[in-house]
Symmetry: C2
Subunit: 154 residues, 2 copies
Amino acid sequence: MTPDRRSEAAWDLVRDRLHAEGLRWTPQRRTLVQVLSGTRGHITGSEVVERCRELDPTTTPSTVYRTLDVLEELGYVSHHHGIDGREEYHVLPTDEHGHLHCHGCGGSWEILPSEADAIAGMLDAGRSFTVDRSHITITGLCAGCTAATSGNGA
Amino acid sequence: MTPDRRSEAAWDLVRDRLHAEGLRWTPQRRTLVQVLSGTRGHITGSEVVERCRELDPTTTPSTVYRTLDVLEELGYVSHHHGIDGREEYHVLPTDEHGHLHCHGCGGSWEILPSEADAIAGMLDAGRSFTVDRSHITITGLCAGCTAATSGNGA
DNA sequence: ATTAATGCAAACGGTTTGCACTACT
DNA sequence: AGTAGTGCAAACCGTTTGCATTAAT
């Protein structure tokens, strides 16, 4: 139904999926799929546009966003809003997981499934809230930035 | 240093704080403070503008955003990006806490300090990441929406 | 009088849309 | 040929900025 969540080869089938839906396989879509298949985790809309432009400078934002919509309907990506305030697309072949965001260095770490489970379990136990494990985003300071912050003034 | 985290009366001191910094107390700022003092938790920039306009229809966005910056420097509010993709301001007199966001009904619940502690502790233990407990935002489905979703098709 | 703050209007960045044109099928 | 998809350019929304004006001090 949705593409194999593991293999990047799932992208090879996009063309056929499109055809199966009566949709078309165009150079622009090829470019976009090329970008997405080389992306792990998430990426913002404008980043997608940017990367597509590296491959094909004639890339147009509207086409990218529209195709992203189509791919979302086919189950290849999903989008929501990220901490940086822009549309953020999740590329599906990646394992679903939450993120830890350091506002010191801007770095990002994955929240392990076991951790997500623990968090989800705790919150669910208290009030029957079903946590969306793939979208947990927690901010703070990573080890490095914590040290830097507490060590010297700045 | 920063205003008393508990009493809303802290807002009464804004005027003096401004004066102490050589800044001015204007009708527009009075309106904004009125809105903020009646706000618990968080609010987006455009919502602030909207509410100020209810009190004073002549309110201008630029003034609101600029004053919000000033108040942030004074420690009355802090801002970051919310799940809905817009600037989100935290009004400080409120207890600091994270939120649970239901994307079924759009509702929002507070994450208890004890829960935040547990989450922060777990994440810190694994990789020395210092969680910002006041900004934990977790999405999912609340009890009501979970039932609605699994119960009947829609 | 001084200069912080305001209001306007225009700019910005990311995203969306209408429409005529192109090109996959 | 027929219609999905494209590119352009303009619109949108929330936010930011420059600048001349207003007003708190």
